[in-house]
């Protein structure tokens, strides 16, 4: 019995099968990175767990509760969504609210915390992402990296059992990627359970406790960073790593 169990997750768009029966276990405090070629359903996997997509089949056990991912009841959907939080590629901060209000929004509206308590929690998280000096700035006044740090604070303030991160650095200018990766690493080190889709392979290597290689809607290989990058057994995985230039044996002759 794992902390989180995903069973038989299936999702298709029209005739295109994106997720073809995903089974995945995640232990408490684990940081699981999902890698794979584009279009293999990495993002769809994350979005299905938060019901931003509606899967055709699948169950999701988290926090001692088992949820049907196919549920149509909005109360069940909301209960499930409160177990997880999402960090988006495009940050998706509320543009009409400043930094502090963005982080407090879920606490006051969804968790119904009193203002003071919500404010304290928000400030605690904003301190961790080092955004205390920008509390009254609106998203449009912030750089992409700062916005993403606020988005991470907003997600963590809700105390999710699983933090979903969908390519959190892909929309950032190269010089801003570092500050967000540092923030994510810190969140991981503090024991937050994370499921992360990213193309930052060096980061994955150093932060992830486990890597899942997804191709054509199936988990083709999984293991520790060392198993995946240094000693890949699977042929498809080897090809993928070759392509993204991560296989150590690769040598270029120029």
């Amino acid at each position: 019995m794992s902390y989180i169990e995903i069973r038989g997750l299936k999702k298709r768009f029209g005739d295109n099968v994106v997720l073809d029966g995903i089974d995945l276990d995640i232990e408490k405090g684990e940081v699981v990175a999902v890698i794979g070629p584009s279009g293999t359903g990495k993002s769809t996997l994350l979005r299905s767990l938060n019901l931003l997509e509606t899967p055709e089949a699948g169950t999701f056990k988290i926090g001692g509760e088992t949820y049907q991912l196919t549920t149509k009841k909005s109360a069940e959907k909301r209960a499930l969504r409160q177990q997880t939080e999402m960090v988006f590629q495009q940050f998706n901060l509320f543009r009409n609210r400043n930094v502090l209000e963005n982080v407090m929004e879920g606490l006051t509206t969804v968790k119904k915390l009193p203002k003071d308590e919500a404010g304290r929690r928000a400030l605690t998280q904003l301190e961790k992402v080092d955004m205390l000096d920008r509390l009254h700035h609106y998203p449009r006044h912030l750089s992409g990296g700062q916005q993403q740090r606020v988005a991470i604070a907003r997600a963590l303030a809700m105390e999710p059992k699983l933090l979903l991160m969908d390519e959190p650095t892909s929309a950032l200018d190269p010089e801003l990627v570092g500050e967000v990766l540092v923030t994510i690493r810190k969140a991981a080190q503090e024991g937050n359970t994370c499921l992360l889709v990213t193309h930052e392979m060096n980061f994955v290597k150093s932060v992830a406790s486990r890597i899942v290689f997804l191709e054509n809607g199936k988990i083709v290989a999984q293991g520790t960073p060392r198993e995946i990058f240094d000693n890949p057994q699977n042929e498809r995985l080897k090809q993928f790593l070759n392509k993204i230039n991560m296989l150590e044996s690769m040598e270029y002759v120029i």
């Binding site: 909005s74 998706n92 009254h136 988005a151």
Partner: protein, 270 residues
């Protein structure tokens, strides 16, 4: 008849006309409210593509936009009593047609007319809020109503304000047609005054001045609201509302060493 154009009368009768300003304001406010409420419903029906209702909404909007407001006023004015008569005939009831104050007809006609035009403004404004924010709100666990109230509407209002302002100005001027269905508003009062002394030109000049001033005031009001609701250009300084909270938090933190981000931290290569 002394002078050709009695310009003093133009100004001296303004207070007399303004006695009916409350009627004009009442017509405008209630019609606006109806317009926003039904307009929002129509917009939501269109956005969510509700079957049947969507076709009905499109049909309704098409009719309202395709006919003059004057004709719509007459249709309500004659249509509602006719409908009541019919109901009385069929069900043997005894609704009194003459007890309906004429202002009701004007309010219904103007309100429905507004709703058709406002629904398009509201729909465009709602759809201007990017989908990512809606996903973020849903991911936080908000209900559909909360997403609408907390995320969509506050941002849609900013987008819609200039167009809603225009629409409201159009409505204020549209209320001047209410005299055709026996409502005594400012325009009707102007005509009544003119009927006594045959100074029609002066009466309409007075009305023009009044409507113009009201419109200018509304334009200013909407400019102010627009500024008020939109995100400030510059990052604002600290807000007083939460100053105490932040001070308390900082004080509690001064004791413990601060554990912020250390930047830049080089990416390690394994």
């Amino acid at each position: 008849m002394g002078v050709l154009f009695d310009w003093k009368l133009v100004f001296s009768q303004i207070p007399d006309i303004l006695r009916y300003l409350p009627t004009t304001v009442e017509l405008t406010l209630v019609a606006t409210f109806i317009g926003y409420a039904i307009g929002l419903l129509l917009a939501l029906v269109k956005i969510h593509r509700v079957p049947v209702l969507r076709q009905l909404a499109a049909f309704f909007i098409s009719i309202i936009r395709g006919t003059p407001i004057l004709v719509q006023l007459y249709i309500t004015y004659y249509g509602i009593p006719l409908t009541l008569k019919y109901i009385n005939l069929i069900h043997g009831t005894n609704y009194n047609i003459n007890s309906i104050p004429p202002v009701i007809f004007a309010i219904i006609a103007l309100g429905l007319n507004q709703s058709a035009f406002d629904s398009e403004i509201i729909r465009a404004a709602i759809q201007s809020v990017d989908n990512g924010q809606l996903e973020a709100a849903r991911a936080l666990g908000m209900t559909g109503g909360q997403v609408l109230r907390r995320v969509i509407l506050p941002q849609a209002v900013t987008v819609a304000l200039p167009s809603l302002g225009n629409s409201l100005i159009g409505l204020i001027k549209g209320t001047s047609l209410a005299f055709t269905v026996a409502v005594i508003d400012m325009t009707a009062q102007g005509r009544i005054l003119a009927g006594r002394n045959f100074r029609y030109f002066e009466a309409y000049c007075s009305l023009a001045i009044i409507y113009w001033v009201i419109t200018i005031a509304l334009e200013k009001l909407f400019k102010y609201l627009e500024k008020r609701f939109s995100v400030p250009e510059e990052a604002p300084a600290a807000e007083k509302k939460v100053a105490g909270l932040i001070r308390a938090f900082r004080a509690s933190r001064n004791a413990a060493p601060r554990d912020g981000l250390k930047l830049p931290e080089p990416e390690e290569n394994v």
